[in-house]
């Protein structure tokens, strides 16, 4: 799924966001990446999605080498990802349904199934009443759930959720984390970043990685 070795990311302005990251994830894992603000969680996800490229080390995601020259194949690889962005990245002016459908229009989902998959995903995140609401009229938590629905509707091999519990109260945050964890299956790996360590302590079948100042340490090993 994911293979990283000696991964390093230094931004153009000289900020060293990640250093010496080694990581191997297999299909069916559930992984939390924790760490304080600015520790490099989003940066790591950016590398995994090809939004940034490592300035050192090597990285392979779903069999593709994440290198600048490989953009055509990275584009295809992204169709098997279910990304949930920290700032959601929903399309304004479109409804919840349209946003979720968007993720299905070019990922190989049969056209006859698109609507069914999108409705199913929105139902699972509890938004079946808001299918046709424009996203800018939805509450923060509702938008977050639309973003999750868009990521999971395409039945991705790898779900990458960046801080999906930010700005949510404890109860809703727990619900969202449980929801995301529920999409884990033998073929699908789920990776979630959060700084809310207290929320994931009960998750016994998940591995937890901790980032601090761009360096990673294994908090709790895999226990499938």
């Amino acid at each position: 799924m994911i293979r990283a070795e000696g991964l390093e990311l230094t931004y153009k302005d000289g900020t060293r966001a990640l250093e010496e990251i080694g990581l191997v994830l297999e299909p069916g894992e559930l992984v939390y990446i924790t760490g304080p603000s600015g520790s490099g969680k989003t940066s790591l996800l950016k590398l995994l999605m090809g939004m940034e490229f490592a300035t050192g080390g090597s990285l392979e995601v779903l069999g593709e080498r994440m290198r600048r020259g490989n953009s055509g194949r990275i584009r295809k690889m992204r169709r098997q990802l279910g990304p949930v962005f920290q700032e959601f990245r929903l399309i304004p002016g479109s409804t919840a349904m349209e946003n979720v459908l968007l993720g299905l229009r070019f990922d190989g989902t049969p056209h006859g199934k698109m609507k069914e998959y999108a409705e199913e995903a929105l139902l699972r995140v509890g938004l079946s009443q808001k299918l046709h609401a424009k996203v800018e009229r939805l509450s923060w938590g509702e938008r977050q759930r639309v973003a999750i629905a868009r990521a999971v509707a395409r039945k991705p091999r790898l779900i990458l959720a960046d801080e999906p519990t930010g700005n949510l109260d404890r109860e809703n945050a727990l619900l969202i984390l449980e929801l995301l964890a529920s999409f884990r299956n033998p073929e699908t790996t789920v990776l979630i970043t959060t700084h809310a360590t207290h929320l994931i302590e009960g998750q016994e079948t998940a591995s937890i990685l901790h980032l601090d100042g761009g360096r990673m340490r294994l908090e709790r090993p895999v226990s499938l």
């Binding site: 295809k76 990245r89 070019f106």
Partner: protein, 291 residues
């Protein structure tokens, strides 16, 4: 199913930036109107020249005092010249009658003459290719006084139509450049306004064509709409021109109005389509280079 999505996205592009889109529509339709008018003039002048060439004929005037009865022999001689296709006598009565027809209401002036001021002549239809030889052979005949041909008119007309040709190419160039500039800017502006959406689509793995199609469609549809409007305005202008010209210049062999309309349609819409596609792709290419 994606067809509906692309149409909807294209409509959103119009709605997001209505002022630019409407300005571009007005600009392109007016520029295309210019193109349509020049094209109409070009087709019409071509038709006029063709029509006049089809009627290539010369009038032969005999020396004064030759009896009409002597014309028969002379006409046989003319008919035997190579390149002459038809020889016909137009007697004084007919010559008078023709002038009356041409003058119409103004034929009253003829009443100032005593009797019939016109002389008989021989009308000869000839093979255009051999005009030069035929003319010199005709003039060599002893009883021939002079030959009147419509060559000067023809020369003038073909000069005129050459000028129209050159103008057409210039206008075509101007129309091309102007519409391309307008469209390229519009498409780039659309892309700039939607950087966020485009980036999101790319992060979701959308193919390039999927991302680009709404912007191309915006440009192409806008041009087609502009072309349609230009055609409509050109049809009105042509109709008005025919109304104005039909009175004072009834004998001008203009092409059929409906034919002109029909030929303008594919020409203007075809040009719009080509320019629309080209402009949109220039816009895309420009936007990509900015990344």
């Amino acid at each position: 199913m994606n067809g509906g999505y692309f149409l909807k996205e294209t409509w959103k592009l119009f709605r997001r930036n209505p002022v630019s889109n409407l300005a571009a529509l007005a600009g392109t339709s007016l520029v295309l109107l210019l193109f349509a008018l020049v094209a109409a003039g070009w087709m019409a002048s071509g038709e006029v020249v063709k029509a006049i060439q089809r009627e290539a004929e010369v009038n032969v005037y005999m020396v004064e005092g030759l009896e009409e009865s002597a014309y028969g022999r002379e006409m046989e001689a003319m008919a035997s010249i190579e390149g002459v296709e038809e020889v016909r006598l137009v007697d004084r009565e007919e010559a008078y009658g023709r002038m009356v027809a041409i003058l119409g209401e103004d034929a009253k002036v003829l009443e100032f003459f005593e009797g019939n001021p016109f002389s008989a002549f021989v009308e000869i239809r000839l093979d255009l290719e051999k005009t030069g030889d035929v003319l010199s052979n005709l003039e060599a005949l002893p009883q021939v006084d002079h030959v009147r041909d419509n060559r000067e008119v023809l020369d003038l007309l073909s000069q005129g139509s050459r000028l129209v040709d050159v103008l057409s190419w210039l206008v075509l160039l101007g129309v091309g450049v102007t519409t391309l500039v307008i469209l390229t800017h519009l498409v780039r502006q659309g892309i700039d306004l939607h950087r966020y959406e485009i980036h999101t689509l790319e992060l979701l793995g959308a193919p390039r064509t999927f991302v680009a199609l709404p912007y191309v469609m915006e440009g192409v549809l806008l041009m087609l709409l502009g072309g349609l409007m230009a055609w409509g305005m050109a049809v009105l202008a042509v109709d008005e021109f025919y109304r104005q010209v039909a009175g004072p210049l009834p004998f001008l062999p203009l092409p059929d109005r409906m034919w002109l309309r029909g030929s303008l349609f594919p020409l203007v819409l075809g040009a719009s389509l080509v320019l629309g596609v080209a402009g949109s792709f220039f816009g895309l290419a420009g936007a990509r280079r900015d990344d």
